[in-house]
């Protein structure tokens, strides 16, 4: 009995070893938890064209929360939910830590950007305050580099992924039948795990074309190879 307790005490320590890497490469202890690299890439940078997001350098707390939310169903996704449900708590913690330790997206700070009205950059940098939509960078940080554990980086993220998430937050309204077309039922939001419901109204009040263009804007902020000195200011 005492040995079991001792083992239990050791578990969290074991999880911080190479376990995160093992889960990424080979999957969890339950075979249903497939290796992460299958979709998120060997370098953790995702597969942009397929809409699989970059996980490398995301905050540990953010990744752990997303996996917990997949488990609980606050974030719905046919691929990720079964995987998250097959991971143990310790595995979730280990894989979140391992991804957070991979290099963060490196966006070089530049001069002030003056977005063109109506562009994706405009939504990202100016918002649409007439609809109470703050500029994305107000919370996700200048250049969308991410802030704290609650506001993930948007810069360099897959456009298809950003678009699908905004759509997941908004759901779709029902379309009534016409003479030629059948009625389409409303689709409820499949992602409901935003803290303080901050994203729901933003996603709902953006148009489809705005969603596409703002997603493309952040995806286009390519990664820089040059090191960035964090003591420099990032301008808005």
């Amino acid at each position: 009995m005492r040995n079991i307790f001792a083992l239990a005490l050791l578990l969290p320590l074991l999880a911080h070893g190479g376990e995160g890497d093992t889960i990424m490469q080979k999957g969890g202890s339950n075979p249903a938890a497939m290796p992460c690299i299958t979709c998120h890439g060997t370098d953790g940078k995702g597969m942009a064209a397929a809409g699989f997001p970059r996980l490398a350098g995301l905050p540990e707390g953010y990744i752990a929360k997303q996996l917990a939310d997949f488990k609980s169903g606050r974030r719905e996704n046919p691929v990720m939910q079964p995987i998250a449900q097959s991971l143990t708590e310790a595995e979730v913690a280990a894989v979140a830590k391992a991804y957070s330790e991979l290099p963060k997206v490196n966006i070089k700070a530049g001069p002030v950007v003056r977005p063109v009205p109506g562009s994706g950059a405009w939504i990202a940098l100016r918002g649409a305050w007439e609809r109470n939509i703050p500029e994305c960078t107000l919370c996700h940080g200048p250049s969308g580099v991410g802030v704290g554990i609650a506001f993930p980086p948007l810069a360099g993220q897959s456009a298809l992924y950003i678009e699908s998430q905004l759509n997941a937050w908004r759901g779709t309204k029902a379309i009534p039948a016409t003479r030629k077309t059948k009625a389409v039922a409303a689709v409820p939001a499949s992602r409901r795990n935003d803290p303080n419901s901050l994203m729901q109204h933003i996603a709902a009040d953006l148009s489809e074309s705005e969603i596409k263009s703002v997603a493309e804007y952040f995806a286009s902020l390519g990664e820089s190879n040059e090191a960035f000195d964090e003591s420099q200011h990032r301008l808005r």
Binding site: G141, L198, H233
Partner: protein, 313 residues
């Protein structure tokens, strides 16, 4: 004449109610000594606020260059004017949407109200002097000279924002449109609950704000990186107005009057940099002179056994 009076009766009623609320009478609990400007009228339901010109309308000439320079300073005050900003604040933190948003002290509504007498310094202030006050108090720094390049650029930007606004006329949306104080008063403990639930995610558990590298993203609400004890935002009534209309970001107008006052009181019941007008090193004297009649504030007031107004560095 009689018919006219009857015709205008609804209007008269509105005016009377409006001025009764605005009057600086001792019976008015919203009395605010720093608000020497006439109170902004309420917006008629369904009417649009004043619309400042669009960015695309900034001309491509020497004037336009100053507008853009002023806009950059407004958005990146700490980064571009570090000698004058003593904390981690930027103008845009309180004047949301580049100073365009109604009820977030929009600059298009402020500019046409100056020069104006201000009790705060007992003289007629130009708009530039008013902005210098922001640097001294809200930015806890020192004011750039009136004829400096920084002040010229910022004034040019604000003047441009006010293009087409009537001079000397209080526009709806000016200031923060403060909610009336709740009947039962405010409660700091209840305010903490609102803060922990809705504000801490961005502003931090200890009001410290959040930065990315050197750049402040979510401003500090108290402590050394925040506005000082002389800033208008240290008044609970003023902060309640800002919070109710603008917070959480994108979800303004969701807190009740009570919640807005409670959380404003919680935020403003913490230490922050000293009021630069500190008299003879005495909090009590400073309270008597500058804070006792300045809206609702906790400077020099004992909260949880500690007298506030010590200042932090």
């Amino acid at each position: 004449m009689k018919t006219n009076a009857i015709q205008f009766l609804p209007l008269l009623l509105v005016l009377t109610v409006g001025s009764a609320l605005a009057a600086d009478s001792p019976s008015n609990p919203r009395l605010d000594d720093q608000t020497q400007l006439p109170k902004a009228p309420a917006q008629t339901f369904g009417r649009q606020y004043f619309q400042p010109p669009a960015d695309a309308d900034i001309p491509n000439n020497a004037f336009g260059d100053q507008v853009r320079r002023g806009q950059d300073l407004f958005m990146n005050t700490k980064a571009l004017a570090p000698d004058y900003v003593g904390n981690e604040m930027n103008c845009v933190n309180c004047h949301i949407d580049q100073g365009r948003k109604a009820n977030s002290a929009p600059l298009w509504a402020a500019y046409p109200m100056y020069p104006a007498y201000r009790k705060k310094n007992n003289k007629v202030n130009t708009f530039v002097e008013r902005m210098q006050g922001c640097f001294q108090f809200s930015m806890n720094g020192k004011a750039p000279a009136a004829d400096s390049e920084i002040m010229t650029a910022m004034t040019t930007y604000v003047y441009w924002l006010a293009t087409g606004a009537p001079i000397g006329k209080a526009l709806p949306g000016r200031g923060f449109d403060e909610p009336p104080p709740p009947k039962g008063g405010y409660d700091i403990t209840r305010g903490k609950a609102v803060y922990d639930n809705q504000c801490a995610i961005c502003h931090g558990d200890n009001g410290e704000g959040k930065k990315v590298g050197a750049t402040s993203v979510f401003p500090a609400l108290w402590g050394k990186d925040s506005y000082n004890w002389g800033a208008g935002m240290h008044r609970i009534n003023t902060a309640a107005g800002f919070i109710q209309h603008n917070m959480p970001l994108g979800r303004g107008e969701t807190l009740s009057d009570q919640q807005a006052w409670d959380v404003a009181a919680y935020v403003n019941s913490h230490e922050r940099p000293q009021d630069p007008r500190l008299l003879n090193g005495s909090i009590d004297e400073t309270r008597k002179r500058y804070h006792a009649d300045d809206g609702i504030n906790l400077y020099g007031v004992e909260v949880n056994g500690k007298k506030l107004g010590q200042g932090v560095q």
